[in-house]
């Protein structure tokens, strides 16, 4: 049976000040995979996600989500930015941040109501943060802040989830809690794409992987392509990872 393609990237090139950070990327992400994007610092991992989501404008190439441009498919996509990209001293509560996930379906001007609040509370419950709903976000630990971001993505009830380093600066318990939720999403037929740093955990957490270093090195099932050859090509040094069976 032919698997549906959730995200298709064609000849994508992105530059900052005319210096390419992503060069001619072709990528097909099948529906229902839990995929890691790995690569060294400055490889363009976050940039790839931002370009797919239209946050950055590519200088060449195109992106489609289920065969249509992203602008027409926003409601199918949820995004978790890097935790460090926002100011956690912003005067707002955990619940309010999660509610922001509902803004997309509301569109301009319309305000969130009881239905949106209920959805946000359910998402908080799912990530184990319901007791913290009224807490100001600066009063949360790094792991809790990441869970709030995850809840905000869950509330969007999307088909495809993009997450930029969701495990950065979180404790071990939170990491396990997050990966379990991601695995549940996959089980429900969602596609999950994660920028990931810890190569050791790739085989354990993910079933699909993309190696990226300005250019795409390889993409495919972890069991087929997560090997020393591709790691060396991506990281430029003789990289060896013991793959746990």
């Amino acid at each position: 049976m032919e698997q549906k393609i959730a995200v298709k990237v064609d000849d994508l090139t992105v530059a900052y000040n005319y210096k390419p950070v992503l060069w001619d990327i072709d990528l097909e992400i099948p529906e229902g995979v839990l995929m890691a994007i790995v690569g060294p610092n400055g490889a363009g991992k976050s940039t790839l996600i931002k370009a797919i989501l239209g946050i950055l404008k590519p200088i060449a190439g195109s992106v489609s989500i289920y065969e249509k441009p992203y602008e027409k498919q926003r409601s199918l996509v949820a995004y978790v930015p890097q935790k460090g990209s926002v100011d956690w001293d912003f005067p707002t509560t955990a619940l309010d941040v999660v509610m922001m996930g509902t803004y997309g379906s509301l569109g301009w001007i319309k305000r969130p109501g009881q239905k949106e609040k209920k959805a946000a509370l359910e998402a908080l419950e799912k990530v184990g943060m319901l007791p913290f709903k009224s807490r100001q976000i600066s009063q949360l630990s790094g792991g809790q802040q990441q869970r709030i971001f995850l809840a905000r993505a869950l509330v969007q009830d999307a088909s495809i989830y993009f997450m930029d380093e969701p495990f950065q600066g979180v404790d071990a318990t939170t990491e396990i809690a997050i990966i379990n939720i991601l695995k549940e999403l996959r089980k429900a037929g969602k596609t999950v794409i994660v920028v990931h740093h810890d190569l050791q955990t790739v085989p354990e957490y993910f079933d699909w992987v993309t190696f990226l270093n300005v250019k795409k090195i390889a993409t495919g099932p972890v069991k087929d392509i997560f090997n020393d050859d591709n790691l060396t090509k991506t990281y430029g040094i003789n990289y060896k990872v013991s793959i746990q069976e």
């Binding site: 931002k50 926003r74 930015p81």
Partner: protein
């Protein structure tokens, strides 16, 4: 109070409200200096607008001058984007250049324009009631009041309509973009409102006070609340309070109204900076002192747990063993007793079961850095309040 006095206070209050609203978002976006740039660089816009309209209160002049404000923002961003200078440098380059063009234009045409540099910097609030608006011959009040009133109505309307969009794009521009709320559109919308407000308030309060009215109330409110709506509300209240108290301060001193209002804004911020309940300087110092004591307490409890030997747990020996002075030892001992964490029998100190449990939890927390375990302890101790 005379009519003129009431009108002046009303104008000052409306200006304060109109400034506090965009000001709150500028402060949260860390763009306070942009308002300084806008307030100065709209000067050439006002002068050119005056040449064209010959009326300082014409809506066209306001739009022209506001456009200069937006151009300022664009220029700053352009220069910054080259990567050759940082944002604050770009601001420092753009607005003095534009402002000086305005100053030269005023000086060259001093006879034609009833604008002078003093008025530009400090405003002429005291004269605002003299310039009246007549509708078919009837006096309906000072022109400034109508201008700033109209701007305020538009600002409040936009705030109510786009509150959610402003909030999400200010907090997380990346998310806003992915949801389809163009952060650039909202950014320039906010810049336009800030520019229009600045121009509208300019005539009444001048370039320097406009900045103070945008930033100081929002910065004071930020120290008091963790809720965006409350922050907006408090900023408005602080702005109006400063405007009215500043007016009477000036009345009493027989001095500049604009200067007095700005002084009041400064005093208000200083009070909040010192006395705000959780973010104020005094609260922070108090909290740090508490934390020091509690770290000592924990050290003390840990010492008790690690030593079964009675000699190590004798009250007198503790001073020497943990190497503290008398006062500190006593404070810590009292704190531990008060919380039922220790027993003292014949001057031998021992942990109670509560003390033992507390110590284990605290150590666990410090080692694993997991918050969930110490939720219940947070109320009793400052140490874990982050």
């Amino acid at each position: 109070m005379s009519n003129a006095q009431i009108e002046i206070q009303l104008i000052a209050s409306l200006v304060a409200i109109a400034c506090a609203i965009p000001g709150t978002f500028l402060v949260l976006r860390k763009m306070a200096m942009i308002s300084d740039a806008i307030s100065h660089s709209i000067l050439p816009g006002i002068v050119v607008g005056f040449f064209i309209t010959q009326d300082l209160n014409s809506p066209l002049l306001i739009l022209l001058a506001a456009l200069t404000g937006v151009i300022t923002v664009v220029l700053v961003e352009r220069i910054q984007k080259t990567g050759l200078v940082k944002e604050d440098t770009a601001i420092g380059l753009v607005f003095p250049a534009l402002f000086s063009i305005g100053v030269i234009m005023i000086a060259k045409n001093a006879n034609d324009v009833h604008l002078d540099v003093d008025a530009v910097l400090l405003g002429e609030l005291a004269f605002a009631p003299f310039d009246r608006l007549f509708i078919s011959g009837t006096d309906v009040g000072p022109k400034s009041l109508w201008i700033i009133g109209s701007i305020l109505v538009i600002t409040v309307g936009l705030l109510i309509a786009f509150f959610k969009e402003l909030k999400v794009s200010t907090f997380d521009a990346g998310l806003a973009a992915s949801l389809g709320f163009s952060p650039a559109l909202i950014h320039y919308g906010l810049m336009t409102v800030s520019s229009v407000t600045t121009v509208g308030a300019f005539d009444a309060v001048g370039a320097i006070l406009v900045v103070a009215l945008m930033i100081a109330p929002a910065a004071s409110a930020y120290l008091l609340t963790t809720d965006l709506k409350k922050m907006l509300g408090l900023a408005i209240v602080f702005g109006v309070l400063s405007a009215i108290s500043g007016y009477w301060f000036a009345h009493w001193l027989d001095a500049s109204i604009a200067g007095s209002i700005t002084t009041m804004l400064g005093v208000l911020f200083l009070i909040m900076y010192l006395f705000a309940p959780s973010k104020g300087l005094i609260a922070v110092i108090y909290r740090e002192k508490q934390q020091r004591i509690e770290v000592s307490l924990l050290t003390f409890l840990l010492h008790l747990r690690n030593h079964d030997d009675e000699r190590e747990r004798h009250v007198n020996h503790l001073n020497e063993h943990i190497n503290w002075q008398k006062v500190r030892s006593k404070t810590v001992l009292d704190l531990a007793l008060k919380n039922n964490m220790i027993d003292i029998n014949n001057k031998i100190v021992s942990l109670t079961s509560k003390g033992d449990e507390f110590t284990s939890q605290a150590i666990d927390y410090i080692i694993t850095n997991e918050d969930a375990q110490i939720e219940d302890m947070k109320d009793d101790f400052f140490l874990f309040r982050g």
